[in-house]
């Protein structure tokens, strides 16, 4: 703020001012619904998750094996060339312990989450997922982990077909 200004506009309110009706509010709740097609690359990726396998796409130009897979290489900007299975093991690239749920409500037992660099994919190629069956204090960057799958009959072609990743 410039020292030339002497007044600073805006009328602060507390949440109580709203709840008590001190100021008028108008409420509305959207009811929009969506159904996304999963596309070509994610389609195969999810199909293979249902089979208990992780698949990526390889670009022969830069030799990278990409997970999540895409039908184009964003660096070489050309179509990717082939499907490559990667392993269901990997190494923690970075991790966190979340005491907030998806709506920012407090939760008592933290959710351990991580970016996991996958064995068989190119260095630094990782996916976001949850950790499980692990002492939060022991989680560290570089920790070896493996995917724990839902039973075959319960899999539906979703990233959550992997329940979580546990230490090896």
């Amino acid at each position: 703020m410039s020292e030339k200004f002497k007044e600073f506009p805006g009328t602060p309110l507390s949440s109580r001012d709203i709840k008590s009706g001190k100021v008028l509010t108008f409420k509305w709740r959207p009811n929009a619904k969506y159904a996304w097609t999963v596309g070509i690359a994610y389609g195969r990726f999810l199909e293979e998750l249902k089979n208990g396998r992780i698949i990526g796409r390889k670009c022969r130009e830069c030799s990278r094996v990409l997970v999540p897979p895409r039908m184009f290489c964003e660096q070489c900007f050309r179509p990717t060339d082939e499907w490559v299975f990667v392993k269901n093991t990997g190494r923690i690239n970075t991790f966190s312990l979340s005491y907030l749920d998806a709506d920012a409500r407090r939760i008592k037992t933290p959710i351990p989450v991580a970016v996991i660099d996958l064995d068989g994919a190119s260095p630094g190629i990782g996916i976001l997922h949850k950790l499980g069956n692990v002492d939060p204090k022991r989680i560290h960057i570089g920790m070896r982990v493996r995917a724990v799958w839902k039973p075959a009959k319960q899999r539906e072609g979703s990233i959550t077909d992997i329940k979580y990743w546990e230490p090896i």
Binding site: F5, P9, L13, S96, I141
Partner: protein, 386 residues
């Protein structure tokens, strides 16, 4: 390529608060009036308007720039919205710069508005819709996850203690005590930060900026027109921006390469060869304390991993060798997303005009402002000079 040198000749800003009674239009109007008054202009003097405002989901008004138009002074004028998530506030003056530097307009009013309070009980719910719907949303992530993951990676790669990161929150909340618009100005200690509630480890309550309502505005003019209004213009001499891949789990998060790309573009344009020596003060984007350090490195103002120590040693204080966030930043002044980024540009303007009062950095000649956003993808950079 650049047809006209671009000057900043006026700026204004509202209070930043968790909730303001005014609508987004009314807040925009406040900020614009202040900016026009400070430049001794009226709306008739404005040839074009650029609106920067971030996710529609917070206001709950789809295509909200159109809703804001009348309050922002844009009716019946060439009016454009720019939007790059959290990077929007610094991208808005870049958009204004295109208008003037191209020779298309002699004046451009730049407005940034955000109201996060309409989305209740917490605007975090709106962030649920930014994730890839196929492979990320089913995991029910919270937006803070990605910052915590980045912070962890940054701290571990460089072996930075949490105490050094916390010192940045202490500095910025303290600096904000001198900012009349500030929402969370406070005198706190490193221990307060370390003792605060854990949100998403290693992010704690006092590491993070708040949701806010607020607006800011800035007036740009071509050199010859600027001289008609003021003897004391500030020059917008460099702009840069860059976006990295949305596949953020395929990138190493320890260094924001996209910020460095944007900074190099802006420095080259402003003919800055040695940013550490030539830049008097910096306003890097600090929605989290570690982000200030991360972005200071991205702006090439510190070695990789070297930024937190600058604050521990006091060099980034207003009276230090490299003042960083003299405004108090998002951590102290607040974070109405787009308005927060433009607040940083306004701070550069007031600092270079020697109008920053208690916040004044001595001998301010050149200043850089930067913002960041999307899925840790965009860097937006502006270089100002007196």
């Amino acid at each position: 390529m650049v047809k006209k040198r671009v000057a900043v000749i006026g700026a204004g800003i509202t209070l930043f608060r968790r909730r303001l009674q005014e609508t987004g239009k009314e807040l925009s109007h406040y900020a614009v009036e202040m900016a026009l008054d400070s430049a001794e202009m009226t709306r008739d003097d404005i040839e074009s308007v650029v609106m920067g405002t971030a996710p529609d989901a917070f206001d709950g008004i789809h295509m909200k720039a159109e809703n804001l138009l009348d309050g922002a002074g844009g009716a019946r004028k060439p009016y454009t919205r720019v939007f790059v998530g959290g990077g929007t506030g610094v991208f808005a003056p870049i958009g204004g710069w295109w208008h003037v530097a191209s020779g298309l307009f002699d004046t451009c009013l730049v407005v940034a508005e955000e109201k996060m309070s309409p989305c209740y009980p917490h605007p975090q719910t709106a962030f649920r819709t930014i994730w890839d719907p196929i492979i990320t949303r089913p995991l029910e992530p919270n937006l803070v996850w990605i910052f915590a993951l980045e912070m962890q990676r940054y701290m571990q790669i460089h072996n930075i203690p949490k105490e050094h990161i916390a010192a940045i929150a202490v500095k910025n909340k303290g600096n904000a005590l001198d900012h009349p618009s500030a929402q969370l100005a406070a005198k706190i200690t490193v221990q307060d930060v370390l003792d605060s509630e854990v949100m998403v480890w290693p992010v704690q309550r006092l590491d993070i900026s708040p949701p806010s309502d607020g607006a800011a505005a800035m007036i740009l003019a071509s050199e010859d027109v600027a001289r008609k209004y003021t003897d004391d213009p500030v020059w917008l001499d460099g702009v840069g921006w860059s976006l990295d891949s949305a596949y953020w789990t395929n990138r190493d998060l320890y260094f924001p390469e996209y910020v460095a790309t944007a900074a190099r573009m802006a420095y080259k344009m402003a003919k800055i060869h040695n940013p550490r020596k030539e830049i008097s003060l910096a306003e890097p984007y600090d929605p989290f304390d570690y982000k200030e350090a991360h972005h200071t490195e991205g702006l090439l103002l510190a070695d990789k991993g070297g930024a937190p120590k600058l604050t521990v040693e006091g060099q980034t204080f207003r009276d230090g060798d490299q003042p960083i966030c003299p405004s108090g930043g998002l951590l102290g002044v607040g974070n109405p997303i787009a308005a927060a980024g433009l607040m940083k540009c306004c701070e550069c303007f007031w600092q270079l005009r020697n109008e920053a009062g208690k916040r004044q950095v001595p001998k301010a000649e050149t200043a850089v402002a930067q913002a960041w956003g999307d899925l840790m993808q965009i860097g937006t950079v502006t270089v100002f000079r007196r």
